[in-house]
């Protein structure tokens, strides 16, 4: 990767849930740079803070300490209104499920962030996205008339259509079978390759991670490892190693 720009960065990010005895350090000092035009995967065991990291970086939630910068905007300085605008205009988000408004058609869902902002879509770009997502014939359908994979692709198209500087996806294929998952991942990969989109994706699945350029491993709220140009095998290897280290730790201590 020759890209040198940093699309987003987290510095000493801490997120604490609960109080006193019930305190949970979901993030315990995460420092991470997301490079522009790169497809980054975040992996880690359940409860390691992946979703929390996504939420904090995507301006959906405020960290307890530390800073998040999107492009050159420091999120901590923004008010609710500005955060809303930032989410609308500069960040895309794909959730694990229930990404679409059931009353709107696929097309309307895709254009939702733009129409909320009162903006017209860039026609060329819109057509490119639709083509890439492969849903040209499904645009008038409502979510309940589409398969899970199609719905997630619509969600991805929505995340991309506003040309956000960064897209966060939290287990976008978590609810899909492998074929549908591949559709979605393929689309995300292509948007990085063809459009230079920056994407951060949380996943459990080594195969999904193999679509990315870089894998960041999280455990107990801290970054514990990193892997470039992953394949399913190398990712699995690392995961097993990390798991063993985690299990072996108490014995050593």
């Amino acid at each position: 990767m020759t890209t040198t720009t940093v699309a987003a960065q987290a510095r000493d990010l801490v997120k604490i849930y609960g109080k006193n005895d019930a305190e949970v350090h979901a993030l315990d000092g995460v420092t991470l740079d997301i490079h522009g035009g790169e497809f980054t995967a975040v992996m880690g065991p359940s409860g390691s803070g992946k979703s929390t990291l996504m939420h904090c970086m995507a301006a959906l939630d405020a960290p307890s300490a530390g800073s998040v910068v999107i492009g050159d905007t420091e999120l901590a300085a923004l008010k609710d209104k500005e955060l809303t605008r930032l989410r609308r205009d500069r960040v895309g988000f794909v959730f694990q499920a229930f990404n679409l408004v059931p009353t709107l058609t696929a097309e309307e869902n895709i254009l939702l962030p733009l129409s909320i902002a009162g903006r017209k879509p860039d026609e060329d770009w819109y057509r490119q996205v639709i083509e890439a997502v492969g849903l040209a014939d499904r645009l008038k359908h409502r979510p309940n008339e589409m398969s899970g994979g199609q719905q997630q692709r619509v969600a991805c198209a929505r995340a991309l259509v506003g040309r956000p500087s960064i897209v966060f996806a939290d287990e976008p294929t978590g609810n899909l079978d492998s074929a549908s998952g591949a559709e979605v991942l393929g689309f995300l990969r292509r948007s990085v390759d063809e459009f230079g989109q920056t994407i951060v994706m949380v996943t459990h699945d080594p195969v999904a991670a193999s679509y990315t350029d870089r894998v960041v491993f999280l455990a107990d709220g801290v970054v514990v490892d990193e892997l470039r140009r992953p394949t399913a095998e190398t990712v699995l290897e690392r995961m097993t190693a990390l798991q063993q280290r985690a299990m072996g730790a108490p014995q050593e201590g």
């Binding site: 209104k81 809303t84 609308r88 408004v101 009353t103 129409s115």
Partner: protein
């Protein structure tokens, strides 16, 4: 299962409280009406039983309820010699002779009249007659007994209200030869019964009372007789009756009290029915709210219900668990409603006090019946309303527990449409029967017909709503873009829910619109009638239709510039079993001012002739030349029909000569004077002079054409506003319904709201979205309601065209205002749900399962 039910109740307290609130308001109205009318009844009981003697001697028919006794001033009197005759009857312990005067008004210190439009002023001679219990009926609680022509005693509350103190000079007005009198207030008089229900009690000494009310004869209106110990009321009444002349009767205290009681009960019954009709409307509207709330709660819980079914709960158990919840809500709502109703009755009591019906002497009556009725109605309404969703809940298949998207099985729209059409047809038939058919209790038929049609509109509204939502949707989209589109889709996504919510408002507005069409048509008809027929320059009358002294006519006639004066006295008499109003006039004077259009015959020319207007002639089935008997209190008058005239506003439904009044023993007074200026006289000047001439007598007012028309319409409007105010309750409940539905919908769509926020919808836009949905629902309800109300109003108007609503007037501006108000209501209803939606934590919203 009970455990599940209790958990559900606790988990959804806020939502259930909101729906319970509909019951609270409805039951509060029911309980309030009952408590209030019971209190009024109790208050009158005290008066009735506190003021009768063992035996009461009076003229025959003076106790009957017909309008004859309200309109006519009985001028008959019992000679003083009769009092002695009665005193000599064996078993009589004592006799007291009473003089009763009507039509007296007390002027307050500020110059206005005491009592106004409310309770009457009762004038008596002072005596210390005992009631049947042996207590003195009237006592002087402060000051002295009035003696001589210049002294008077008045009840305490009236003295207070009028701003007088003992020793002050009080000005009063009578219908007699001395229209304006003065007397020094020397005493405070009090009734043994306690309160006076707002009536004013004025007592003079006997000679003065005779002078004022019996033209100075040594005579009396009635005699109170006390029995010797051991002599029963009936025994004594029989003995007294033997010495009485024809036309008089001896009535036992018990009978007299019962008689008065039944007259009062008729009036109270009417008031009670009137109030309960509005309570019923409120409850019907409330039913919609409850059906909706339970439907939504059941829908939101369908997965859980399916799980229960999968674990082996029977359909019956599922239904019962929902109904048990409804029962709890019903009990809670009724309890709170009772408490609120008690407060409402207190409020009504205070309000009626403002209008002169003072009940402060009686504490609120909380009868066991009130409690039973309130709980029965409250629980029944809630359970019936919850029954539909409960049944639907039971239809959730157990397999739904495993599925992701649980849609409750719903009856088909087609079934709704069919049932709706059938209801509409039945309702229309009932209305037609009530309006045009000859059925007993026609208003009930019309009412039930309207109810059926409204239910039909509500049932079919998921279909009829679509074009309206389409229209508002287009507007929303054009004006508000994506947010408008989202709002419209939200309203459309569950047409049944939207329609049911709107239906509650629809019912309220349908009734309001009906009343406003009728009211506006009545006003238009009055205006048209007045325009055409009111050919007099001035009308001298009493603001509340009370008659006044004939001296006024003499004073007015004496004013230079006054040309014609036609005096008219309202009379009433019986023909067979009907009560008929009439005007006693001098036909020649009347003709000089008003042109009556005789369709047959001519005006009465002697005291044995009568003329009718067309409607009355038709109702009585009489025509020119027919012979009739008019029944007046104590006497009958054989007459011939001299003619029939076209219906008109300027005289009553029948005409007799003025001499008839004295001939049948009624008091001569005037009810109206029609006054024309002489040709060439300056109208304004003459008007001022007439006003000056009657200025001393505030009971009498002078109106020109415009003022007369305004005054007539003001009366209509007053009633209209009262009805609007009462219908307001239904509207408040409908608004609660919108709030409830929106709140529940927002909770239901928590995840969606979170998603929208995540993709950049601002809090403001989110609030706007909820608001627009709310406005859509409200405007939908308003449009459906106004359309139905127009239908009712127009058909009722045409049915009543014979009864004087000759012109149709549709108050478009007012209807447009209703729509705007509905939109505002929508905005207000959305405040809380929108606020809640915008406060939702984005992440928590997304995480909601």
């Amino acid at each position: 299962m009970l455990k599940v039910t209790v958990r559900n109740l606790l988990a959804r307290k806020v939502r259930l409280l909101l729906s319970a609130f509909a019951i609270v308001l409805g039951i509060a109205f029911v309980a309030g009406s009952l408590v209030f009318t019971d209190t009024m009844g109790k208050s009158f009981d005290n008066i009735v039983y506190g003021t009768v003697s063992d035996v009461n001697v009076r003229f025959e028919d003076s106790g009957q309820a017909g309008l004859e006794n309200e309109v006519n001033l009985d001028d008959r009197s019992l000679p003083a010699s009769l009092v002695q005759t009665i005193a000599d009857v064996d078993g009589v312990a004592r006799v007291d002779a009473n003089v009763e005067g009507m039509g007296l008004f007390v002027k307050k210190k500020d110059g206005t009249l005491l009592g106004g439009t409310g309770a009457p002023t009762l004038a008596f001679n002072w005596n210390d007659a005992p009631n049947a219990d042996g207590d003195q009926i009237a006592t002087i609680s402060a000051g002295e007994v009035p003696r001589g022509p210049d002294e008077v005693a008045i009840d305490e509350r009236s003295v207070e209200n009028a701003g007088y103190e003992l020793g002050d000079t009080v000005e009063m007005f009578t219908t007699g030869a001395e229209p304006q009198i003065e007397a020094r207030l020397v005493g405070i008089v009090e009734f043994a019964g306690g309160g006076l229900a707002g009536a004013t009690l004025v007592t003079f000494d006997t000679p003065r009372a005779q002078e004022l009310f019996l033209d100075g004869q040594d005579a009396y209106s009635s005699v109170s007789v006390e029995a010797d110990p051991g002599v029963s009321q009936t025994e004594l009444a029989d003995r007294v009756a033997e010495v009485l002349p024809d036309g008089t009767e001896a009535v036992t205290g018990d009978d007299l009290a019962d008689e008065t009681q039944s007259i009062i009960n008729t009036v109270l019954g009417f008031l009670n029915t009137f109030l309960l009709v509005f309570a019923a409307i409120a409850l019907v509207v409330g039913t919609f709210l409850i059906v909706n709330t339970f439907s939504i709660l059941v829908a939101q819980r369908s997965r859980e219900l399916a799980l229960l079914r999968a674990m082996g709960a029977s359909r019956g158990q599922v239904t019962r668990s929902v109904l048990t919840e409804a029962f709890a809500v019903g009990v809670l709502g009724s309890t709170l409603g009772l408490v609120l109703g008690y407060g409402l009755a207190g409020l009504l009591k205070a309000l009626f006090g403002q209008f002169g019906l003072d009940l402060s002497g009686t504490a609120l009556v909380f009868a066991p019946r009130t409690v039973i009725v309130s709980y029965a109605v409250g629980i029944l309404v809630t359970m019936v309303a919850a029954w539909f969703p409960a049944r639907r809940a039971a239809k959730v298949p157990p397999v739904a527990a495993m599925r992701d998207d649980v849609a409750l099985p719903e009856g088909t729209i087609r079934k709704r449409l069919i049932v709706g059409m059938a209801l509409a047809a039945a309702g229309a038939a009932l209305m037609a029967a009530g309006l045009f058919g000859d059925v007993p209790r026609a208003p009930a038929w019309i009412g039930v017909g309207i109810f059926f049609v409204l239910m039909a509109v509500a049932l079919t509204s998921p279909v009829t709503a679509l074009p309206v939502i389409g229209l508002t949707g287009m507007l929303n989209r054009v004006l508000f873009g994506a947010v408008g589109r989202l709002a419209t889709e939200n309203a459309r996504r569950n047409p049944r829910r939207t329609a049911a919510t709107a239906s509650a408002l629809m019912i309220g507005l349908a009734l309001v619109t009906t009343m406003s069409v009728l009211g506006s048509s009545v006003n238009r008809s009055i205006e048209a009638g007045v325009d055409e027929q009111f050919t007099t320059d001035f009308l001298v009358s009493n603001a509340i239709g009370q008659p006044f002294s004939t001296t006024v006519a003499e004073d007015v006639a004496a004013i230079p510039g006054v040309g014609e004066v036609s005096a008219e006295q309202n009379v009433a008499f019986g023909i067979d079993d009907r009560s008929v109003y009439g005007s006693a006039v001098d036909p020649a004077a009347l003709e000089r001012i008003f042109e009556l259009n005789y369709t047959s015959g001519h005006a009465p020319e002697s005291t044995d002739q009568i003329a009718f207007n067309e409607t009355t002639a038709e109702q009585l089935g009489v025509g020119t030349g027919d012979r009739l008997e008019l029944t007046f209190p104590g006497t009958e008058l054989p007459v011939t029909v001299s003619g029939v005239y076209a219906d008109t506003y300027v005289v009553g439904p029948s005409l007799v000569l003025r001499d008839v009044v004295e001939q049948v023993g009624l008091k001569r007074v005037d009810s109206y004077l029609a006054v024309n200026a002489s040709p060439g006289a300056d109208l304004d000047e003459v008007g001022d002079e007439i006003t000056d001439a009657v200025a001393a007598i505030p009971t009498v007012t002078v109106q020109d054409k415009q003022e007369f028309s305004d005054a007539q319409r003001a009366q209509v409007n007053q009633l209209l506003y009262l009805i609007y105010a009462l219908l307001g309750l239904a509207i408040v409940i409908a608004v609660l319904g919108i709030i409830n539905t929106l709140s529940l919908s927002v909770i239901e769509r928590t995840r969606e709201v979170g998603l929208l926020r995540a993709v950049g919808l601002s809090r403001r836009q989110l609030r706007r979205m909820v608001r627009l949905e709310s406005i859509t629902i409200a405007v939908l309800g308003a449009l459906l309601g106004i359309a139905s109300g127009l239908l009712f109003g127009v058909s009722l108007r045409s049915a009543f065209s014979d009864e004087g609503i000759t012109d149709l007037s549709i108050p478009w501006v007012q209807l447009a205002i209703f729509v705007v108000v509905a939109a505002v209501v929508g905005v207000l209803a959305a405040v809380v749900p929108a606020w809640r939606a915008s406060r939702l934590n984005v992440l928590r919203a997304i995480a909601t399962e």
